[in-house]
Symmetry: C2
Subunit: 294 residues, 2 copies
């Protein structure tokens, strides 16, 4: 069987051996402990699917504080009891939750959250991607998140593979957060600034992306059937310590990330013939790992 990506070669360690060209993974593996940031447990949403597989989502309270507060309240109040993945549309989204019209809102949750689609760019840490973007004035990274800056001074998170957003009806409805989706195909960037992004899947996206596609329009499942039942959704901070996951992301302001970015934009390891000299924002996923030693 042939490998598409670079194969680790055992180079003879002689004086004549050329230096090995680094892969993005090499750069990530070489990052020191101090370049990693632990994600707070209250920002980790743990969704357990029928059969026990977990999907772990990092929440983004700095971008959608009201929606994220709702999601935390829903998790605490067991709002999602009986929830399911009920839509899987190929090259677009997997969507899950509970029918908001049929479930009473949890105490303290906001019924009509504001349109948290953008926030001011001012005050946002920003590491530029350094490649042009079709959707924004500039794109890059802010505290571990892919972000876009617009000409009017606003900023947004961007839809990349695994991005989690809030299902809604037609504008100006914004959704409560009771129905969520994850992008499972090519980044649907046209949704940026049009929907509340509340986080991203950092572990277990394949539990959603490999589900059978729904047979109805837009990938919905037939009434009365679902792609997968959800047996629990909880914040890591509310879980017993022994079951609580912990993850870290590579600090996007660190020299290690800068090196990773440079290599992603200029792949020249043994598999490659031509280095691209640039990259699409969503082709530079922010490295995430389980916290070592836990």
């Amino acid at each position: 069987m042939r490998n598409l990506a670079a194969v680790a070669l055992l180079l003879a360690l002689t004086a004549a051996a050329p230096p090995k060209k680094l892969t993005p993974t090499d750069a990530v593996n070489a990052a020191p402990a101090g370049a990693w940031r632990t994600i707070p447990a209250e920002d980790l949403l743990v969704m357990t699917l029928d059969g026990g597989a977990r999907v772990i989502i990092q929440l983004a309270p700095a971008f959608a504080p009201v929606h994220v507060a709702n999601i935390r309240k829903f998790a605490a109040a067991n709002y999602w009891q009986g929830a399911a993945v009920y839509r899987v549309q190929d090259n677009y989204v997997a969507q899950w939750g509970i029918n908001e019209a049929k479930r009473a809102l949890s105490a303290g949750a906001v019924a009509k959250p504001p349109a948290e689609y953008v926030r001011p760019a001012r005050g946002l840490a920003f590491t530029p991607l350094g490649s042009p973007d079709p959707y924004a004035k500039s794109v890059g990274f802010s505290r571990g998140w892919p972000v876009a800056l617009y000409r009017n001074g606003s900023a947004s998170l961007t839809h990349c593979y695994g991005t989690v957003g809030v299902g809604r009806d037609l504008h100006p409805d914004t959704g409560t957060g009771g129905e969520l989706y994850a992008a499972i195909g090519h980044a649907p960037r046209q949704l940026d600034r049009n929907i509340a992004i509340v986080g991203r899947v950092i572990s277990g996206i394949e539990q959603l992306s490999a589900l059978p596609r729904g047979s109805e329009a837009m990938g919905f499942y037939k009434e009365g059937s679902v792609a997968k039942a959800i047996t629990g959704i909880a914040l890591a901070s509310a879980m017993p310590a022994a079951q609580r996951p912990s993850f870290q992301y590579l600090d996007t302001a660190s020299p290690s990330f800068a090196r990773y970015l440079r290599i992603r934009k200029n792949r020249d390891d043994d598999f490659y013939r031509v280095a691209a000299g640039g990259a699409d924002l969503c082709n530079v996923p922010v490295p995430v790992r389980p916290t070592p030693g836990r």
Copy 2:
């Protein structure tokens, strides 16, 4: 259940009703018969999976003529007998075929094809996308294909969702075409100019993208197991007329495509609040449909 995409609204047909904003699908549905081009049957590769589902691939002889000629010979000679999908890597590729090292090359096939990764841009029809691209000087469409133009006068097909390429070992190997992959995640554009693109899946990509991911490194299946057996791979031109599929693509030089492109770049139908004002090449999939009346 809430819908992410625009919902068809029944607007009251009164004098006061505002004009309905068009969706990309509206533009495609409005294209006249003359804007559609029928794909030649010798350019359609029909892969049948265990269970009977079909994956249909449009071949690209104008970009990788030697590899495509090999693929046609393999199909005619039943080279792929016993083939399987043996690699499914999340957000990257599904890969299939037969171990080239263990199967004698079909008569007339080329053992070491040239690096058909680029071709001269000169002579290529070209409709520009009109948005910046991180990987190329300019990107757009040529006779139904997404293409990139580079500063040195070369052009390539681009890796988008569903793009089919030739698995290979390390450069300068190019692969024979006996092992193929399809992109099933965010477009891996860094592979452009580094691998032979031979076509794209135009029907049935979900038969590959929803397969369980392989458990081994890079999504490979464990030795002795496969994601899915392949029961047949044939050119449509070699199939009995009654079983032969037929597809058309929207002429990318037509006014209908120009309108579709403009709407994709400026979604302003009822779901949207802000029109993007641009699009990523791979977010403008070339419309394809079964040939009407067949």
